[in-house]
């Protein structure tokens, strides 16, 4: 395979059979369309290319910025394609909840604008949402932007009508599957694939998956939000079912651990939703059937999402010296001295506050080791000798007491905490300096 540029690597992803031992279905062959193998990491590569292609020439002539309302994969793909053509990219969003995606976009050179939250004191005459207002600005002629408009752009559907859908039919030896299961985000892929499959066989059953209203699965709209999507047409789907973030993570773990497929939560949700839907039908079947679901993207961008919801998955052995392992009694009896005694302290003074606050004002002669860093140092053992007296300083004497207790437990005989902290020091008229 020799290509002129990376966009040529978009599409033609494999259709991989899922082992029956994993899904447990007897009469149904379940296949995954491996969209995570697209070069920029997701299914959205196809739509991004399809939408931006006709805009490129004009945008380059005018020096326009490419802009999209996206909090994830579409933004990622557009940022990379725009970059290849020397165009700036801006993502406007109020839904960017996954920090890795945010960081990745910044790394790719994208600009990110976060929309304001709802007003606390409501103005009922202001019925226009920030998105609509943004939309109007972007669409104005001569705005300096080209807007790919993924939620309304028919080319988003076409990418799958002419690409993803026909590829599935070709890989199933010219036949459409009996069931197609898809998560609904922009509705572009589910609509396009469903249309392509039905052109082959009008009886294909299409199952759309959405998130429960109060839930959050990156890349999937909730049952309410799908109605805000221009491409969404309820008639495309034979049924619409709800999946939870728990389902999505369960499915993700199965794909990652059993199927050699590093899928993200959308792929996990599609797998779990597919198996749940098909299991009910499986027992009633007398002939062999085929089902296809889409693995949209990769797992790596969702580590913090997973850590937040399933901390147990990331269990690490407890550290040797950790303030969290102290008893209340140890903290209460930590050695401390008052402001008066501290003013005559002969030894080392360690200020545990943040560097900014330290630089602004601190005790003369003290050194700054921010508490997070100090904690890391103590995991390895004592960072100073036992004969070196140490006074610990924090804002109110609460953190310093805990570290004094920990150092005492580690065998340091001459560590003290400043009771009441630097605030007590200030209130007593103690001298504070700034360098």
């Amino acid at each position: 395979m020799r290509f002129d540029d990376m966009t040529e690597a978009i599409g033609n992803t494999p259709l991989v059979r899922i082992d029956a031992d994993v899904h447990g279905l007897v009469n149904i062959d379940l296949y995954a369309k491996m969209e995570l193998l697209n070069p920029f990491g997701s299914l959205k590569d196809r739509a991004a290319l399809q939408m931006i292609r006709p805009l490129l020439t004009g945008a380059r002539e005018r020096g326009d910025t490419v802009v999209e309302l996206s909090s994830g994969n579409t933004a990622k793909a557009l940022a990379m394609i725009a970059g290849m053509y020397g165009l700036p990219f801006k993502s406007v969003t109020n839904r960017m909840k996954v920090p890795e995606v945010k960081d990745l976009l910044l790394l790719l050179g994208a600009e990110i604008d976060e929309l304001p939250g709802q007003a606390e004191c409501l103005d009922p005459t202001d019925t226009e949402d920030p998105l609509s207002r943004m939309h109007r600005t972007l669409s104005a002629h001569g705005s300096g932007y080209v807007h790919t408009d993924q939620y309304f752009n028919e080319r988003n559907v076409e990418a799958h009508l002419h690409g993803t859908g026909p590829e599935i039919v070709k890989d199933l030896d010219g036949r459409a599957p009996d069931y197609f299961i898809a998560c609904v985000g922009t509705a572009g892929s589910s609509t396009g694939v469903a249309r392509a499959l039905r052109q082959h066989d009008a009886d294909v059953r299409v199952i759309g998956l959405v998130a429960a209203k109060s839930d959050f699965i990156p890349g999937i709209r909730t049952i309410d939000e799908v109605h805000e999507v221009g491409l969404f047409d309820p008639d495309v789907y034979d049924t619409i079912e709800t999946i939870s973030s728990d389902d999505a993570i369960d499915g993700l773990l199965t794909l990652v651990r059993r199927c050699g497929t590093p899928a993200g939560p959308t792929g996990g949700g599609a797998f779990q939703g597919a198996v749940r839907h098909l299991r009910a039908l499986d027992a009633t079947l007398t002939t062999r059937k085929t089902a296809v679901f889409i693995v949209c993207d990769r797992v790596e961008s969702y580590l913090s999402y997973l850590r937040e919801r399933r901390p147990a998955l990331f269990g690490r052995p407890p550290r040797r010296f950790d303030v969290r392992s102290l008893t209340a009694d140890e903290v209460d009896t930590a050695p401390a001295i008052d402001v008066e005694e501290a003013s005559r302290w002969p030894g080392l003074i360690v200020d545990l506050r943040n560097p900014h606050a330290f630089q602004a004002l601190h005790l003369d002669g003290s050194i700054n080791i921010v508490d997070e860093l100090f904690a890391e140092m103590l995991h390895g053992g004592l960072p100073f000798g036992r004969r070196q007296p140490v006074l610990l300083v924090c804002p109110v004497g609460e953190k310093s007491a805990r570290y004094a207790a920990l150092l005492t437990r580690m065998g340091h005989p001459a560590v003290k905490s400043l009771a009441g902290g630097i605030i007590a020091w200030r209130d007593a008229g103690g001298r504070l300096v700034r360098d």
Binding site: I112, Q118, E120, T127, E128, V229, R353, H356, A360, P395
Partner: protein, 463 residues
């Protein structure tokens, strides 16, 4: 997908407020004697609300003032009761300042905010209350007056991800801080207030204030406090599932997929464009599990966008006191509005109250009223019409659900309305009377009442 069960939005009612609602006879006597509508306030609810905020301060080891934003309610009873707690008060007019001084607040517990005319500024300077300065012009007026000032800033910028905020009419632009500091000999603190429920914007603003304090200290101006304003919010509903179901069904109604749920098919900001839902839901998030003190706690735990340490720890590290100005959050469960049913015919119920007397619609808060007397038959969905001769005078455009069919003479109670709803927009239009306000207090296991301006708190002594 249509769902025909009644769409209830059950208000959250804590035991103390519930025990007032249970006094059917007393409520009827009050409405008979003082007329409908009638505002009832519960000064006894305030101390616990102040304490809940203080508990968050303790958890973060922070100090500072909790100022009640007076504009949320004009009751004297509430203000006089607050004066007996450790809270201060935020006043935004000459009248409010006079009221606060008269209610027993000493000047060290008062901060003057908002637009100020010369009379207001004059009394503020004379009495020595803290003045939250809103613009460079105002700062000029106060030069050499000896006033204690807070600089209210706005227009904070973020790096990396651009956090966009709506433009505010208040505050000195952050990029003109130098000019402002050039006009100050002394400042007591830095302030911001953003009208948003989004914590990321507040995090950007708070970090901006920290930078401003750093600049003050660099210039040798010792500044030890940041006032972050209000906007902590209240949770009005008992059940999140009801709220979710209601808002889902509202979208379906706007799309024409179910029977209308509102007067003239009002969409509360949503509209149907070719089968797609557009616009924004112009409603207060009435179910808000994280609100009031919980919201403050969450904000303090939010990492600062640049320094990445939790905001609460940054304040503490820099020895900065945190001042806040909650309005409705301090009045949670502290009041209700009574209205009498004039007539009930089918789905139309006429009340002796108008939309200005309980401005739920104006503030976008949806919740069902309580039918006083705890009658339970079949849940009934009705529209509530007001007493003004105006097409638009609906108490709420939403069809509300009552536990039984209302009858003329019944009383409906709109609960938890002390914050902004009961008197903020009340008018004498059409010579309709403005609601009287009574304060109720718990004495010897029963509720006693007096007119609002007759209420003086007496603690620990004979009354």
């Amino acid at each position: 997908m249509t769902d025909s069960r009644p769409l209830t939005l059950t208000p959250r009612i804590e035991p103390s407020l519930q025990s007032v609602l249970d006094e059917t006879e007393l409520l009827h006597q009050l409405a008979d004697g003082l007329g409908s509508p009638l505002n009832i306030v519960l000064p006894g609810a305030l101390a616990a609300n102040v304490e809940a905020f203080r508990a968050v301060y303790r958890r973060h080891h922070l100090r500072g003032h909790v100022y009640f934003a007076h504009k949320a309610n004009r009751s004297s009873a509430l203000l006089r009761e607050l004066a007996t707690t450790e809270a201060g008060v935020d006043v935004a007019s000459l009248g409010e300042l006079q009221h606060a001084l008269g209610a027993g607040f000493t000047p060290d517990r008062i901060v003057a905010t908002g637009p100020k005319n010369r009379d207001f500024l004059g009394l503020a300077v004379r009495t020595g209350v803290l003045i939250s300065v809103d613009s460079l012009d105002e700062l000029l007026l106060l030069q050499k007056s000896g006033a204690r000032v807070l600089l209210r800033l706005s227009g904070f910028t973020s790096t990396g991800v651009q956090t966009i905020s709506r433009r505010s009419r208040f505050g000195i632009p952050f990029d003109r801080l130098d000019e402002a500091l050039d006009r100050c000999e002394e400042i007591a603190g830095i302030a911001y207030h953003l009208d948003t429920i989004g914590p990321p914007e507040k995090a950007v603003a708070l970090e901006g204030c920290l930078a401003a304090i750093d600049e003050c200290r660099r210039r040798g101006l010792p500044v030890w406090s940041i006032d972050i304003g209000g906007g902590f919010g209240v949770n009005y509903l008992a059940d999140g599932a009801e709220w979710e179901r209601y808002t889902t069904e509202l979208g379906q109604a706007v799309l024409g997929r179910r029977a209308p749920m509102t007067w003239n098919d009002h969409g509360y900001g949503l509209r149907n464009e070719a089968g797609t839902l557009r616009g924004a839901l112009g409603l207060y998030p009435a179910y808000r599990p994280v609100s009031g003190p919980g919201y403050l706690d969450q904000l303090l735990a939010t990492p600062a966008p640049e320094q990445r340490r939790p905001l609460g720890e940054l304040l503490l590290d820099s020895m900065i006191d945190l001042d806040i100005e909650p309005g409705r959050a301090l009045l949670d469960q502290a009041g209700l509005v009574l209205a009498r049913v004039v007539s009930a015919d089918g789905e139309i119920v006429r009340l002796d109250i108008n939309a200005g007397d309980v401005s739920l619609e104006e503030h976008g808060v949806l919740m069902d009223p309580v039918l006083v007397g705890d009658r339970r038959e079949d849940p009934t969905e009705v529209f509530l019409l007001g007493n003004l001769c105006l097409e638009s005078d609906l108490i709420t455009r939403r069809k509300v659900t009552l536990p039984a069919r209302p009858r003329p003479g019944d009383l409906l109670a709109f609960v938890n309305t002390a914050g902004y709803f009961m008197d903020f927009s009340a008018t004498r239009a059409l010579h309709q009377s403005i609601a009287r306000t009574v304060a109720v207090s718990r004495r010897a296991n029963r509720w006693t009442w007096c007119l609002d301006d007759q209420y003086w708190p007496v603690h620990g002594g004979a009354s």
